[in-house]
Subunit: 151 residues, 2 copies
Amino acid sequence: MERSAGAALALLLLRGFRTMVDDVSSGLAHRGHAGVRPADEFALRAVAEGADTASELARRLSVTKQAAAQRIAVLAQLGYVERDLDPADARRKRLRVTARGHEMMSIGGTLLDEVRERWAADIGPTRLADVEAHLTRLTAGTAIPVDDVDD
Amino acid sequence: MERSAGAALALLLLRGFRTMVDDVSSGLAHRGHAGVRPADEFALRAVAEGADTASELARRLSVTKQAAAQRIAVLAQLGYVERDLDPADARRKRLRVTARGHEMMSIGGTLLDEVRERWAADIGPTRLADVEAHLTRLTAGTAIPVDDVDD
DNA sequence: CCTGTTGGACAAGATTCTTGTCTAATCTAG
DNA sequence: CTAGATTAGACAAGAATCTTGTCCAACAGG
């Protein structure tokens, strides 16, 4: 049989992610933030953490500028970010997370934290911290290339 | 700040998954299996493990029947599965993984196993096994509903 | 100033889902 | 045995989210 421990591990990671975010999407929808996809929340989080231009966001998310711009357009339409002109560079549009955006991140973060708390209660906080520490180490070297590089 | 440990954990899981599969896609492409997306490999694996009809595959992958059928169409076109008539039920088409399909799974599995081996070497086999055991437990209750259910 | 780089936008197309509708085959009561 | 419900699969249209390709305006350095 071609059962593969590696494949099982990959599926485990994917399922872990989906278990977390599936919970959150519906939770957000029930609290006045319908139509928010997981990708939106993480993109917004990246903006809040300093990716305040489309190009920078593209680099952080490892997608093309265009994809990032489209994501930003959605976030702007939903009222989560606003685009201000940059007085220092007329090409740039500085992204600013709105109050509503902070609220959404706060709710989403809380929901994710709740899942994590449930997990901590299940296997114990120490073990969960171990899992996190190991995953952090294993994915540390993931400096993903972007856009105009062509391998 | 709305930094969220839950959000960090979700990103960690996603990054772990992507770290594994990104490696594999290019590896497969260089061995005569270009155009195989990670989703294709996992879908094929599900078929090999018993999801031998479109509807059953849909249930396992937690997508609609239509999505599964489209995935199957791709797999069939790439020569990884064949659709045989089921003598016992004329509605069904039994899916069968071809030799080429087994080959692809074998290569993909090996590549995934290699990533896993590298990880085991990095943090130690015992710790990796712990991570796997914990994730298995945490995602055990994930019986994802499908298709015609409506909350 | 000229040239190369960077930030952003528009358009078109590919992928991969979805919903909606349909037919045909099977199962289950009565 | 047959009427109605369920199930398997398909086709079509559309939404979401990427991509490539092209373009222009603004900056930076000689």
